[in-house]
Amino acid sequence: MSVMVVRKKAMRKWEKLPGRNTFCCDGRIMMARQKGIFYLTLFLILGTCALFFAFECRYLAVQLSPAIPVFAVVLFLFAMAMLLRTSFSDPGVIPRALPDEAAFIEMEIEATNGTVPQGQRPPPRIKNFQINNQIVKLKYCYTCKIFRPPRASHCSICDNCVERFDHHCPWVGNCVGKRNYRYFYLFILSLSLLTIYIFTFNIVYVALKSLKIGFLNTLKETPGTYLSPPHGAYLPFRPLCPVVGLTGFHTFLVALNQTTNEDIKGAWTGKNRVQNPYSHGNIVKNCCEVLCGPLPPSVLDRRGILQQEESGAQGDSSTRGPSTQEPGALEKSSTQEPGAAQVLSAQAVGSTREGSSSPTRQSAVPMLPLSPTGMPEETQPSAVELPAQTRDDGPTEH
């Protein structure tokens, strides 16, 4: 009977998750690494709204109706809530395959393809499935070591496979996928409405004031040319066109139950391509499914507690799992002493997901980062406004 010294360390799973994400608030918030443009988005929205509330609203509330700023506040709060929800939530990241699962899949692949001699490029790993009488190909992800579900794609910026991957949006600082697409859509919709609303009432403000004191005096009266309402009338106009355009584009995608990724790659268009098997053929049904459909919870379990057990040197050769087969890839906690024989086994206890309670689960699953293989992944388009850069390294799929 070996003696096992267990030193519990309250480390959460998010600290060991592979991929290029940043986590805040002890795993509650999940974003991409580059957040600069997200801060710019926040600044633009807050700045424009602050100017509107500070200048126009005071005048219009008195002259026209107090409902004007009230509605603007409601719209502003809704847009901000949707932005933060899009930016901070898990877009639908598919966790990477653990070594045992990856080995099982490898075995299956080798059984189908046979072993490839050294130096030769292995055949593309593709599985064919028939969905609604259309043949859909599932590609193998070399980074995550899984066959990607249909409509999933690997985001090279976040280095994760994301379900129903739409695009990586630098403006929200996160990928847009299955779990946060509706928040993203509601964000751009409410932002468009807000921008149009502010722009309209800026014009109304200038018109009303000009009627009383003349247009030139209106310009003179307002402090600072840059902050002045006439100039401020132009401020929301600049983001108006791309945001409204983007909302229109996504409305089109929602009506057809397509993703940006599929649209850019032309997955369902063209002569020799299959038709979109996910569309219900009915615009209303498609919209309802995308926007009001059931919301799957995150499977990442970011806040589950990761217990790392340390054992003495005599310990536990019998309890060593597959983790010791790859000593170079072992995760080492900062409290572990170097040189001691280490056995890492992770145990998730009492996990909670995104504010909702879930039953306490006991599971012991070895956690290992999977080292990326030499096979490069295709880059994903990062945003619709930016020029699309796609690089296919394998044969064209779909």
């Binding site: 966790p95 499935f129 599932l138 309802c288 919301l295 499977v299 599971s363």
Partner: protein, 157 residues
């Protein structure tokens, strides 16, 4: 029964003593979460086909219920949208409720069906809903004859 289930929980930690069988997803219905009902040959000597199929079909039924698009899901979606999704701070989504039911069902199945046969079914949610993994206790297959003769014996390890 419960002690066998507990031993099988131990089994996960000693993964080298366990053979793992993975039941993959079945994408023929699209992106809905469904698992293949094809019986894994590795379990041929351990488990009856019918029991396995019944388990997987029940799980598929649960997932279909979770992802069902109908009146109640639309109502939930619209209500949530109207409250800017803050309502989910107070209540669980329908999907989460069904996942709880699934966890309970899997626990029952383990206690009643799988543990007596030296197997352990894991919840697919732990694997990102990609696979149902079945852990097979190699030791129990050797000691199963002795265990069946003894009464209420624990998993011999």
């Amino acid at each position: 029964m419960a002690s066998e289930a507990h031993d099988l929980q131990e089994l996960r930690r000693s993964a080298s003593l366990a053979t793992k069988v993975f039941v993959q997803r079945d994408y023929s219905d699209g992106t809905l979460c469904q698992f293949q009902t094809k019986f894994p040959l590795e379990l041929d000597s351990r488990l009856e086909r019918q029991l396995f199929e019944e388990t997987v079909k029940t799980l598929n039924g649960f997932y279909a219920e979770a992802e069902k698009i109908g009146g109640s899901s639309y109502l939930e979606g619209c209500l949530a949208c109207a409250t800017a999704y803050f309502i989910f701070l107070c209540m669980e989504t329908h999907y989460e409720k069904v996942l709880k039911k699934i966890a309970k069902y899997i626990q029952e199945q383990n206690e009643q069906v799988y543990a007596p046969r030296g197997l352990l079914l894991t919840d697919p949610v732990e694997r990102g809903m990609r696979v149902i993994s079945i852990y097979e206790d190699r030791c129990s297959s050797r000691s199963s004859s002795s265990r069946s003769s003894s009464s209420g014996g624990g998993g011999g390890r």
